[in-house]
Amino acid sequence: MTEVEVAEITAMGMKSIGAALAVGLTGIASGIGEMSIGAAAVGAVAEKKDMFGLALIFTVLPETIVIFGLVVALLILFS
């Protein structure tokens, strides 16, 4: 295997690690965010059933962080 080939494989590996970190870390971050919002949302819905829709929207708001992570990962992999 030539030095160029080794460098290409290493670059690909680094890209993959970067993409994995982007998705993984944003996943953890949104999990942390959703923990508090989810607990509050379940508490509110337990007392007022009609708050379900609103509570659900608030709970999934941190999911946007993962979407950003996914976009970044795709850009890393396919750019």
Binding site: M35, S36, G38, A39, A40, A41, V42, G43, A44, A46, E47, K48, M51
Partner: protein
Amino acid sequence: MVQSSSSPGSYIYTSTRLRVRKSKLLTPAEYHRMLNMGLSEITRFIGETEYQKEVEELGTSFSGVDLIELALSWNLAKEYQRVIDMAPGTLKQFTKTYLERWDIYNVLTILRGKIQGLSEGKIKEVLIPAGSLNKMVLDRLLAEESCERVIDGLKNWHLEPVLQSHAAAAISSGSFSQMENDLYKKFYADLLKVEEQGVTGADQFIKFVKLEIDTLNTKTIFRMQADAVSKASRDLFIPGASFTLDELEQISGLSDQVEIIDALSARIRNEPLLIALEELREKKTTLNEINIKLTKAHLEQMERLSRIHPFSIHSVLVYLEKKKYEVANLRALARGKESQLPGDVIEQYLVI
């Protein structure tokens, strides 16, 4: 004191639930509507709110003001138990400790009822089994024939030594006021000891206890001034908060209301209470108005604390306190209507 750990999620869950429950309490507009209603309309109105289950359960056996009284007491006790069940970790322990005040209320109610020869059923109507002495213990105490036997039946209660020390004098004189003072003093002294145990969140609980002690002492000072109690009695005050007993004795010795307000304002850092004191300086008010104003300031400060520390014991305590005053308001409304008092007179006794 039990130290248990719970996830942050369960604190957030409980605090939010109680916040929502607090928002369901009766609004000033609803109180104003009730002020224009008759007793039966009030019963029907209450029966459509959070008290529905109790009103329906008791509706077949009771009517009128007795039905309202009992439904309110049952609902309050049930609500307190539900909050204890719901609270996680240290919040549960603090809530239980806070609710132990109802033990004092229940024991004194039984003793006072017994000495006045009231029937078991009549005493039971006003008991709130929310503290460490549950329904079974209270029923056993109610079945006792005399005050001495009631006190003997409380051997395992942690405040029993205070009861025993005042028992003979209180029963012979028929007045339990000194016993009551000392029970509450011991109760608050025990609450303040929570700080020494190093439990997580104890600092917030202590903030509440000190706030309550300050409010109670302030009320006592104004009551002494209104009743023109000449001898400054330090026995009436609870130590441990913003003022020492010497300072409280000194302030209570002042005869002019403005001087009292100056002395209190110089040390109190709680803004709603300061505002209330300033308002009292500006116009002459009755003792009842002062009491209501101070209670409102107390609740306002609790509300502020619960906003500053949203997932602490404050959100539990502010709900429990507001619920207590809602029940007291409804009771005052029902009793006032039964006595055919005009709406504006009843309104003066409501904390809204």
